[in-house]
């Protein structure tokens, strides 16, 4: 029984961590997160140009969130 409790607790903690409902970052604590260089894609112009090149050079091109057409397969 005790073991199960432990496992349940661990599960709960995992879920908590996964959803991060446990952490609360108040709006006034989000200054760092709002900085442009902290965006998940800090230089979108650069990354889209690079992605275009990788797509025409590498097999693993599909399946990303970049939706675009064209081959440009030089």
């Amino acid at each position: 029984m005790k073991n199960y409790k432990h496992i349940n607790m661990m599960l709960l903690v995992t879920i908590c961590l996964a959803l991060s409902n446990c952490t609360t970052v108040e709006p006034w604590q989000r200054g760092n997160l709002a900085k442009p260089h902290m965006a998940l894609d800090p230089n979108p112009l650069q990354s889209s140009l690079r992605t275009h090149l990788y797509n025409s050079r590498e097999a693993a091109s599909g399946g990303s969130s970049t939706n675009g057409g064209g081959c440009g397969c030089y």
Binding site: N21, V25, Q29, H37, L49, A59
Partner: protein, 936 residues
């Protein structure tokens, strides 16, 4: 901030400085408040600001090695692949909740790429032979283990098995791809819906796509979920490489029909005129992805997403072939080597090139993880990304990326980056194939009547047999002799059995993209915020592809290695920043600024036509202006000579200087994108730099009665055949540097002189690709990207503005400062005079009418080396220049106030009215100019 300071003609007063300070701090406070209230952008996604971006980039591949005999590395004679690209984008808040985004991008590339992979002893690149077109059909000597033996170029066996492979490279004339896409986003409190659509076009590949995505932020905006769906439909319509087509072998079905793609119903090869073949294929892709982004703590956020793409249709590359060595098992062979008596070879193989065959279904899945960590000590951001990819072609790939975004003082940010990618080979990847069968062998009669023959003029008719070997007389199966005319006309043709398709793999490709390899790349991005409005971004990356870099080893050998580097520069305009300074009604100073603009003569707001350059100067020291100008010109229809239409007979007789004319141009389009960056260091002097990006295409066709090629498929014949598909060029053009001097200025009138220098940054060295092992030399003069010479470009401009009216005149010229460029010629000098009137029709909008008279000289000199193969009037230098009279009608809008304050947008159509041209040229149909500029 600059903008506010700039209002005062001299030193700002104390009051003004204070106001500036106030407005700056107000801006900062507002932004801080927005961040605090969580109103600013969701941390995970991009900004909500109105913005315009312009980006230019260059891609340069390193030379590829083609191993020759011995161990020395031989570099290919072809130019490596290079590409110029341009990207324009604008994001505008249409209403408070609706945001629109538009993107336009284009690439133009040229250079050599691998068409096939072959054993080194096959000598696919025929290095040392004049001309350098690839050989993809030939013979190969194999040992008893079916491994190629080392031979020299003359087929003499020099040694034992030689496992080295080499890419067979094929050149390419320039090609251009353009893509336009739009996106609309609707925001609700916590939910955003994106709808997007676009199209991409290149000569041989067209693609249309639509997508939708939703983002849902919850948990006090700490968590966001997103899901997307996309659909793409693409069409390949590729004219098979005319250099290679005659050598691409078919696979024949029982009826003798060439079936290039037995395993794929989504594509087919069609015969077209001039012996060309077109491969047509369709493809559809459905993609979905779901993701979750989470703020972990005040310094960390992560995102995880899953993607799945289902593709059906033609997914092969129409320009790639696979070398197949056919080993006839019945051959009695072979023997001794002249160079090395111990190196015996067992088989003579017949090497054929087959179009690559890929499956027509592909399912791809990806897992993406992104992690961003703020580093307090240096205020940096560490980004770590990982991507896993797997598909049902047997490819698994891993990508690791790390970035360190480091803000420095003075609004600089530098971001070094490193990336590693590794994939294993697709199941059907093979450098080349050895198959134990003949490609084609004579069909033998199962009833013992020997070889089977048929009548070439009637392929569907009865077959017949030779009465006895060598007799020269033939009979049908029932013993009736065939008609003598079949023999007399030389139509007796042996039937061949085609290869057994089942002995080949179902799918095969030797595209290096499907091989096992790794790629390591590193680069840096440098951002500099020049003002609230403008920031500059420069990016560089070096990329190395190598079999040896594959994770866990076992990658393709080094022949396939290559590297590239890319450099790009972007200007980013934050239009919201201009609005937040001058548009807010709570900012009294801005109001007075607007008033100032309206009541004073401000050159920037002049309603000049779009096609006019150097039309105004900045009014105040320290002012900046950024502009983007697009010009399109179109020529089509009749050929003209002097002031008249030229008929085909005249063109054929005189269009090519007394030489034969084989083709005439039928359509020519030029698109020019220019960036104007202007700065006023003092009130009387403005400095300006104007880089440009150009692309052009031309179609040609033989006029009625045109002579046939005098040399068959020699250089002229090959050039005529190459002219059968559009010629395209594109890339960075010449760069203009200008200094403008204010001469006279009062409340209405303005006179200024401009001294300009055009720097020959545009390529004048563009050649057509080799065809049939023959050089075609340089492309037509008007399709080079620049003048190739340093040019002096002076002009003088007078404008007069009244309440609702304005008019002006301008005289300008171009003087070539060198008698010839590096390729041996110089473009003609030019003189232009223009006069215009414009009148306000409503508040911010005015209409203009303009007359333009242009004189341009013919081309001086001609291509000195690699003499171009001249096939039409556009290849003769005296068919350039002339006198031209055009009339322009235009509209100009200037924005006052709001977030677009200081923006000017104008369009103008220039209609040719009269011309007197030199020699024979294609009719000018008109030109469009569109211009946007912003001062700050």
């Amino acid at each position: 901030m600059l903008r506010v300071l700039n209002i005062s003609k001299k030193t700002p007063t104390k009051h003004q400085l204070e106001a500036t300070k106030q407005s700056t701090s107000l801006y900062t406070l507002t932004m801080a408040a927005r961040v605090l209230l969580g109103l600013a952008t969701s941390p995970a996604y991009a900004s909500d600001n109105d913005e315009v971006n312009l980006q230019f980039g260059h891609y340069q591949e390193g030379e590829r090695g083609i191993s020759g005999l011995g161990s020395e590395k031989i570099k290919s004679k072809f130019h490596p692949i290079q590409s110029d690209n341009m990207h324009l984008s604008a994001k505008i808040m249409i209403t408070d909740q609706v945001k629109g985004e538009i993107n336009f991008s284009q690439d133009t590339w040229s250079g050599a790429s691998p068409i096939a992979t072959a054993p080194s002893s096959f000598f696919g690149n025929r290095d040392g032979v004049s001309g350098a077109s690839p050989y993809i059909v030939g013979g190969l000597k194999l040992d008893s283990q079916l491994k190629p033996v080392l031979i020299n170029q003359y087929g003499e066996v020099l040694g034992k098995s030689d496992k080295r492979l080499v890419h067979t490279l094929s050149g390419a004339s320039p090609e251009t791809r353009k893509q336009l896409d739009v996106k609309l986003s609707r925001e609700w409190d916590e939910f955003t819906l994106d709808l997007g659509s676009g199209l991409s076009e290149e000569n041989d590949y067209k693609s249309q796509f639509a997508n939708m995505a939703g983002h849902w932020e919850f948990n006090q905006k700490l968590t966001s979920l997103s899901a997307g769906l996309s659909f793409t439909t693409s069409t390949t319509r590729a004219k098979l490489d005319h250099d290679a087509t005659p050598y691409i072998s078919g696979i024949y079905d029982l009826n003798g029909v060439n079936i290039y793609n037995k395993n794929n119903n989504s594509s087919q090869v069609k015969q077209i005129q001039n012996g060309g073949k077109v491969l047509q294929g369709n493809r559809e892709d459905w993609g979905t992805n779901i993701g979750v982004a989470q703020v972990m703590d005040e310094n960390t956020q992560i995102e995880a997403s899953l993607g799945y793409t289902h593709s059906t249709g033609y997914m092969a590359n129409p320009y790639k072939v696979v070398e197949v060595a056919f080993v006839n098992p019945t051959q009695i062979c072979c023997g001794t080597a002249s160079g090395d008596s111990t190196a015996l070879y067992a088989y003579d193989a017949d090497v054929r090139a087959l179009l690559e065959q890929r499956p027509d279904v592909r399912n791809q899945g990806t897992l993406n993880l992104r992690y961003a960590q703020h580093i307090k000590a240096t205020n940096a951001a560490l980004h770590l990304n990982y991507r896993y990819f797997q598909d049902d072609w047997g490819i698994k790939a891993h990508t690791f990326e790390a970035e360190w975004a480091q803000p420095l003082g003075n609004n600089w940010t530098i971001t070094p980056r490193i990336r590693y990618y590794s994939q294993n080979a697709a199941d059907f990847y093979t450098p080349y194939i050895v198959t134990n069968q003949a490609y084609a062998s004579p069909l033998m009669d199962p009833n013992g009547r020997g070889q089977v023959f048929y009548d070439a003029s009637n392929p569907a008719g009865q077959v017949f047999f030779e009465d006895s070997p060598g007799s020269g007389t033939f009979s049908y199966a029932d013993g009736t002799p065939i008609h003598q005319t079949i023999i007399d006309n030389g139509n007796v043709t042996p039937k061949f059995t085609s290869l057994n398709r089942k002995k080949l793999p179902t799918h095969y490709s030797s595209d290096y993209r499907l091989s096992g390899y790794g790629a390591l790349s590193g680069g840096i991005t440098v951002n500099k915020q020049l003002s609230k409005v403008l920031s500059l971004e420069v990016g560089y990356e070096y990329y190395k592809h190598a079999g040896g870099l594959k994770f866990g080893g076992g990658g393709e050998s080094s022949y396939a290695n290559f590297n590239y580097s890319t450099l790009n520069a972007a200007l980013k305009f934050d239009l919201s920043a201009t609005g937040s300074f001058s548009g807010g009604s709570d900012n009294n100073y801005s109001d007075s600024h607007t008033h100032y603009d309206a009541s004073n003569h401000n050159q920037h707001t002049s309603y000049t036509p779009a096609g006019l350059m150097f039309d105004h100067m900045l009014s105040h020291t320290g002012n900046f202006m950024i502009g983007y100008r697009y010009m399109y010109s179109h020529q089509a229809g009749n050929m003209r000579h002097g002031s008249n239409v030229a008929n085909n007979q005249a063109i054929l007789l005189h269009g090519c200087n007394g030489n034969d004319c084989y083709v005439k141009p039928t359509n020519m389009n030029m698109h020019m994108h220019m960036l104007d960056i202007m700065y006023a260091p003092t009130e009387w002097l403005n400095l300006m730099i104007m880089p440009q990006y150009i692309d052009m295409n031309m179609t040609m066709s033989p006029p009625n009665g045109a002579p046939l090629s005098p040399d068959g498929m020699g250089p002229i014949g090959s050039a005529i055949m190459h002219a059968d598909h559009p010629h395209t060029t594109g890339g960075i053009g010449d760069t203009g540097l200008y200094a403008m001097f204010k001469l006279i200025e009062d409340s209405n009138q303005h006179l200024h002189a401009t001294l300009g220098l055009s720097v020959p940054t545009g390529d004048t060295n563009i050649k057509l690709r080799d065809v049939m092992q023959q050089q075609l030399g340089f492309i037509h003069y008007d399709m080079q990207l620049g003048s190739g010479t340093w040019d002096f470009k002076p002009s003088i401009t007078y404008t007069n503005e009244m309440n609702n009216w304005s008019f002006g005149v301008q005289l300008s010229g171009v003087k070539r400062l060198e008698s010839k460029n590096s390729t041996g010629y110089s473009l003609g000098d030019e003189m232009q005079s223009t006069a215009w009137f414009s009148r306000k029709i409503v508040n911010n909008l005015s209409a203009s009418i303009r007359g333009v008279y242009t004189w341009q000289g013919a081309i001086d000199g001609e291509y000195s080396s690699h003499i171009p193969v001249k096939i039409g009037p556009m290849d003769y230098t005296n068919n350039y220049g002339g006198h031209f009279l055009d009339v322009g009608l235009g509209l100009t809008a200037v924005m006052h106030g709001g977030s677009f304050d200081g923006n000017k947008l104008s369009f103008e159509w220039l209609q040719p009215i009269k011309s007197n041209i030199n020699g024979y040229q294609l009719e000018r149909k008109g030109a469009l100019a569109a211009s946007w500029s912003m001062m700050f």
